[in-house]
Amino acid sequence: MNRDPHQQARELIACGSQGLTDSQQAWLHTHLDECASCRDYSQAAEQFVRSLRSVPVAADRALVRTTQMRVRLHADQLRHRQERMWLVWMSCILVGLSAAITTPFLWRGFEWLGRSAHVSNPVWQVGFMVFWISPALAASLIFLARGIHLTDANGTSRG
């Protein structure tokens, strides 16, 4: 299919000379030598690019400094949040380990207490469960109650 050579030339001009292959550039040069209308178009495009690059749009110092300050502040907040999360994870791991080690001893302790007090097995077993689960329940309640505060303190510095 033969395309309109003028449209093809203008499409190549619009891509900019750096975006063209050698053969495209050679074809374009030949076409521009022969076609005054496309040559005018090319010159107008070049003139536009020169003018566009000469438009002095610049960021001012205040904007740059404010941005740098905001970024540093936000980086600090993110670092603190990461540190807190690290502490929370470490606490969880320690609590898990401690529970795994002490649970068998506690179980035997409750069993001994149950026998000494002459109570039935389900009673001391329920007592063990309550004792065993109460720290986790208390911690969950504290986390729930302080959740919003923690988010605020980490995410949007409240001072």
Binding site: Q18, G19, F48, V55, P56, V57, A58, V64, H74
Partner: protein, 197 residues
Amino acid sequence: MNAAACYFVNGMESETSAIARGLRRRDPELLDRLIEQYQHRLLRYLIYLTSNRELAEDMFQETWIRVLERGHQYDPKYEFSTWLLSIARHLTVDYLRRKKPASLDGLLNEEEGASLDPPDLRPSALQLIARQEQAEQISAALVGIAAEYREAIVLRFQEGLALDEIAAVTGAPLGTVKSRLYRGLNALLPLLKGAQA
């Protein structure tokens, strides 16, 4: 690939790798340096994208906050500037969609005629007037064309991005980028001619 080109590519890769490492560490010195280095390019792009200097300055700050938060996602295979401009673009388009659920043109119509208000660079009074007039003509002509054409033209001819880099920033196929440049230039040149006549 010849030795000079190979050296250049390796140099660029090591620079982008250093940026990627610094971004993963959230290195404040690196971020300060990047903000300094890319300040004008980013702001220029945002001004032409939004046609509103104040909004562009807000987006400028938000872009760097996002760079800090998402720094670990930067792939050093690509130029940092391409990644930066694509973040700026996503943020701006999201903001404009939330603000007004229409295309970017909706905002442009609202603010039609608004000058980009380039700052003074303290040349002579005559130069200043000529430059100001030229800047106003360019700004007015750019505001007069569709936002997607303006964006492609600014990225290509002002920021000097390659066609594939423009495709990466805008998320558009290469053919669409070429078509936007062609249509944009076709729409723009008569406007500039009209302004100069």
